[in-house]
């Protein structure tokens, strides 16, 4: 094992790299994009009257042939693969930091601004793994999108874009395609925004300063806004608007809560520089004024709860998840929700030390049950498979919230394992759903059937991911749900009843998810659709994700120590 | 018993009674001049009263006591108000009874009497005017209550003379947020209560907009004179109250010298005249609000009054609580 904590420079590097590497990559993409943009502009001034399609083609000098169901890997853009660098850096830093903190305890750098404990390392590993799946499946997804852009772009260009007046209401979500030039330009920014998104999430994970944590989480909202609204159709613009407004307002509440906590800390005699420092606040939490802390924690839970998809500010989630590009949905659902929830977990430690466990227990359990009930009810009535996956995310986040409400070591460890398992399985499911959308051109469950017959590999991956989300062994969600349930029933009568209600609701969600997925997968292939052989390079990242999820469920291996230590970080002091 | 105090009361009531029609005349004259007309002169309201009093009293068929008594109740309440409100001296013999809540209740009594009279005639206009008047009153009375209440918090009493005397001693109270908000709220409320623009137009008989005029449409002769006189009294007293609350300088705070009382009388006449002129000038430039926007204005002034109360409650005291 490496022992790096003796070398401050090395520690600083390890703590900085997860946030800095994606940001640097984003910068590189911006520069590259500018150059490509200039070239494209030159091309477009010459060619626009003749061939407007090439205007935003970016680096794609060679025009693509018309739409092809399978995308040959030879035409992939090398830029798309460069994005894989940052997940690898994050994973590496997470692993090194994990080795470090298991042996030597928390490390910090820049006078406490960045800090890593076991929870940080765990979250970094989850972010890295999910980002790896998302970034690795991005090239295939982008190639597919570019192909459809070109195909529909040719047909759409004849029709003048609706400007000024209200455009005719599109009959379905499928037929909406905006002008092609802007669409391609939007794809040019895709990598910049995704990398910035990763950087912001990593910053939120590695910082120990609660103010910087807020800034980082709000930054994730801002950078993903255009990813959600990238299509510029009515639905995606609506989703983006709701996303930014609800998340910004919700998270503003979290900032108000942070300010109130800072006030309480200052009044408790903590110096200005340390009054937002998480370890300091935990150590001196007993001196915080209870009334002010209670108000602050309530606001923080509501605010970050908005970002974690919990009631009452959850309305953005299904819209944004269903409209974003599939890899971005995977990132948002797989890790953004849990990064926001990790913030709540950190605040929970402070609150428990200052107020005793009952306050957060009631608050979190109540929110979790409401979210679960809502998700289950809406899953029953769901007709769109991307929205179905989004509501399933809400269901899983509320299970994690319930684990946090229980708060015993077993429950916390199970909750953290659930974060990892859900991240991997949901990322896989979303990436697969993006491919299904490209294949079938619709996101309605009723119009997708016979997936297994048409594309066996894709259908199998999607089906297995949903099976994992349903909580079947060998996937890790089985182990974690079992752990949460056991911890809940062991925690006393009140939580036992809450857990029983939760299990009932989970059962409803289970039934809804299972029947809808079965409808999509089974049945004969639609008439006229040829069997599609997906290239292995589009599917290997998803297989890796499923394998990781299953491996985590069979044996945690070296991660077991990390998991128990991360749970110990969150235990009531 | 202080003879100067009684003299002050007598002077105050006498001045208000004599001056109320003159104030209306002054305002009409100001408007006329600003609009480029010659105007009927300041004394015209007195001439109107004389003319109306000479006519024979007429009551519409089917009206009951509410119609007949309303003018008297209106004038009576206005006269009691003229006695109670501290315009000249804060050391009058009635100071113990000049409570804020009594004043608002008297105002409301006059308003309700007139609204009942409007309903009693059974005509469409009367009922319409009454219902509009009640809509407005429902927001105005609490606003006045709130605004003066905000001023009463620093004084520690709802007694009007005490509030006015406190403000005269300590002008800083008026420049606090509570004071400024209360001034704004009370000004709007007074405009609404006296039926001036932008809430009601006293010189219109257009059925879409009139409020006060619709209620009193059936009155004629001496009854009409009383109604008009009552309205003028209310305007004068309320403007005087506004002047006393927010510009209390010069008011006699001790009941010792007649000279101070006379000086205060002169000042209050001047202040009310200035207020009336300013109001008349402003009315030239304002348009009347559409009727359904009126509640917005009044709700706004109520909110201002409420903010004034909360502000003086929570912000105000320097280590007060």
């Amino acid at each position: 094992m490496l022992h790096l904590s003796q070398e401050p420079a090395m520690t600083a590097l390890l703590l900085t790299a997860p946030a800095a590497a994606p940001l640097a990559l984003a910068g590189a993409y911006t520069l590259g994009g500018l150059r490509a943009g200039r070239q494209a502009a030159e091309v477009s001034t010459v060619q626009r009257p003749l061939e407007p399609v090439a205007a935003g083609g970016g680096r794609a000098a060679a025009p693509m042939p018309a739409v092809a169901p399978t995308i040959s890997p030879a035409r992939r853009h090398p830029r798309d693969w460069a994005g894989l660098a940052s997940p690898l850096v994050i994973l590496a830093c997470g692993a090194l930091l994990a080795a470090d903190v298991i042996d030597d305890g928390p490390v910090s750098a820049y006078s406490g601004l960045l800090r890593a404990d076991a929870l940080t390392a765990w979250m970094l590993l989850v972010v890295g793994a999910v980002a790896f799946i998302a970034c690795a499946s991005a090239p295939a997804y982008l190639a597919g999108e570019r192909a459809t852009d070109r195909a529909t772009g040719r047909t759409v260009m004849g029709v003048p874009p609706a400007h000024g007046g209200p455009p005719a209401r599109a009959n379905s979500r499928v037929g909406e395609k905006p002008r092609v030039g802007e669409q391609s330009r939007a794809w040019g920014n895709y990598h910049v925004l995704v990398q910035a998104f990763l950087g912001a999430m990593c910053l939120a994970v590695v910082t120990a300063n609660l103010g910087v944590l807020w800034v980082a989480i709000e930054a994730t909202t801002i950078v993903t806004a255009f990813l959600v609204g990238h299509r510029r159709t009515r639905t995606s613009v609506e989703a983006a608007w709701k996303y930014v407004v609800i998340c910004s307002a919700g998270i503003a509440l979290a900032f108000l809560g942070t300010v109130l906590l800072y006030y309480a800390a200052r009044q408790a005699g903590i110096a200005e520089a340390w009054a937002l420092d998480w370890p300091t606040l935990v150590a001196r939490a007993d001196r915080l004024d209870p009334a002010v802390t209670r108000l602050g924690i309530t606001l923080v839970v509501l605010g970050y709860g908005a970002k974690a998809g919990l009631v009452p500010l959850h309305a953005w989630l299904p819209d944004a998840h269903s409209q974003a590009p599939a890899p971005v949905s995977a990132l948002m659902s797989g890790v953004l929700l849990s990064v926001a929830f990790a913030a709540i977990l950190r605040y929970r430690v402070i609150a428990d030390a200052a107020l005793g466990p009952d306050f957060t227990r009631v608050l979190l359990a109540g929110i979790a049950l409401l979210t679960l009930a809502l998700a289950a009810a809406l899953l029953l009535a769901q007709r769109d498979y991307k929205r179905m996956l989004a509501y399933s995310s809400m269901e899983h986040m509320s299970l994690i919230a319930l684990a946090a409400a229980v708060g015993s070591p077993l429950a916390l460890a199970a909750g953290l394992l659930h974060i990892a398992g859900h991240g991997l399985a949901k990322a896989t499911a979303f990436c697969a759903s993006g491919r299904i959308l490209q294949l079938r051109g619709t996101s309605e469950i009723g119009r997708v059937s016979g997936l297994l017959a048409q594309s066996p590999w894709l259908g199998a991956v999607f089906g297995l991911a949903v099976v994992a989300l349903l909580g079947f062994p060998p996937f890790s969600l089985f182990a974690s749900e079992l752990g949460i349930a056991r911890a809940g029933f062991a925690a006393g009568a009140g939580l036992g009843w809450a857990m029983a209600a939760a299990l009932l609701l989970v059962l409803i969600a289970f039934a809804a998810l299972a029947t809808r997925t079965a409808r999509m997968l089974l049945g004969p292939a639609p008439t006229g659709a040829t069997a599609v052989q997906d290239s292995p390079s589009a599917l290997w990242p998803l297989t890796v994700g499923l394998a990781a999820c299953a491996a985590l469920g069979i044996a945690t291996g070296p991660l077991g120590d990390l998991l128990s230590q991360a749970a110990a970080v969150l235990e009531r002091p | 018993m202080n003879p100067v105090g009684y003299a002050a009361i007598v002077l105050q009531v006498g001045t208000v009674v004599a001056g109320a029609p003159l104030l209306t005349g002054l305002m009409r004259q100001t408007r006329a001049r600003l609009e480029g007309r010659a105007g009927a002169g300041v004394l015209q309201p007195w001439r109107d009263v004389r003319k109306l009093l000479r006519k024979e009293p007429i009551t519409p068929v089917g009206t009951g006591p509410a119609f007949r008594w309303a003018p008297l109740v209106l004038v009576a309440t206005s006269l009691v108000l003229a006695v109670l409100v501290p315009l000249i001296s804060t050391e009058s013999p009635v100071r113990g009874r000049a409570d804020l809540i009594v004043v608002v209740a008297l105002l409301a009594l006059g308003t309700v009497a007139l609204a009942l009279a409007g309903l009693d005639t059974g005509t469409a206009f009367g009922g319409m005017g009454a219902s509009r008047e009640m809509t407005i009153a429902a927001l105005v009375e609490p606003t006045i209550l709130m605004a003066v209440f905000a001023l009463s918090i620093p004084a520690g009493s709802t007694n009007l003379p005490v509030i006015v005397a406190g403000a005269a001693d300590e002008p800083a109270r008026l420049t606090s947020p509570a004071g400024l908000l209360a001034i704004a709220a009370l000004s709007v409320a007074v405009l609404a209560e006296t039926g001036r623009l932008p809430v009601d137009n006293p010189s219109t008989h257009l059925e879409l907009t009139m409020v006060h005029e619709a209620m009193v449409l059936e009155y004629a002769g001496p009854d009409l004179a009383l109604v008009e006189f009552g309205a003028q009294l209310r305007l004068t007293v309320l403007l005087g109250l506004l002047a006393s609350l927010f510009a209390p300088w010069g008011i006699a705070t001790s009941a010792s010298s007649l000279a101070a009382v006379l000086l205060a009388l002169l000042l209050v006449v001047l202040k009310v005249a200035v207020l009336g002129t300013v109001l008349a000038a402003a009315e030239v430039f304002w348009a009347k609000l559409r009727l359904f926007r009126v509640p917005e204005l009044l709700a706004g002034s109520f909110l201002l009054a409420l903010l004034a109360v909360t502000a003086s409650y929570f912000l105000g005291g320097e280590g007060g609580q």
Binding site: G165, G211, W214, A249, Y262, L276, A291 | P177
Partner: protein, 231 residues
Amino acid sequence: MSESLFSQLLNLACGAFLLAAVVVLWRRELAAIVRLFALQGLALATIALLLGLHEDRWDLLVVAVGIGALRAGLLPYLIRRALAVLVAGQDGGHGGGHGEARETQPLVNVAASLLTAAALTLLSYAVARPLVELDPTPATRALPVGLAVVLIGFFVLVTRRRALAQVVGFLLLDNGITATAFLATSGVPLIVELGVSFDVLLAVLVLQLLTVRVREAFGTTDIDDLRELHD
């Protein structure tokens, strides 16, 4: 600065701060709403300035100037520019006069929203009791004002239908939080303040762009028309 003068000026600034938020509810013209928002930014900067002078902290004075520039200058400028684009776009298109420039029909009518604002103010006083009791000074006694503006901002965000009115609601919310931070603790640490200001600026830029896109896609900026996605 003497203690009583300080508290009087602070109270005046807080009063103006709250009043601006209330009058936003009263007005329908978006241009007037933006002007009020700029005024509120000035009041906020004044609060920071007064606190800086009172505590002899030069960094607070710099922050006050920065806040004034951002919230009374840059953000209103951005919104005004977006408004100009929208209005110009509409004049070029179909008729309808100044539909984009006015909040014609909020979900809750103006009289009711003013009364709600009154209730919200009382609520914020009730909620802020423990905050004030922890450390009663002239500044913390004005804390309910900050919370009231937060609540009013939230209310504007929920009940207004024009996209830009919602943006102003979000900014009111943010102003309220910043005021709370100043009144409670003389501001959060500089790095956090910088990050927050930067985030808010970016959020407004994003919302401004999205407003244009909403108009492109829907032909109006009436958020009530955004009904494509629902369950």
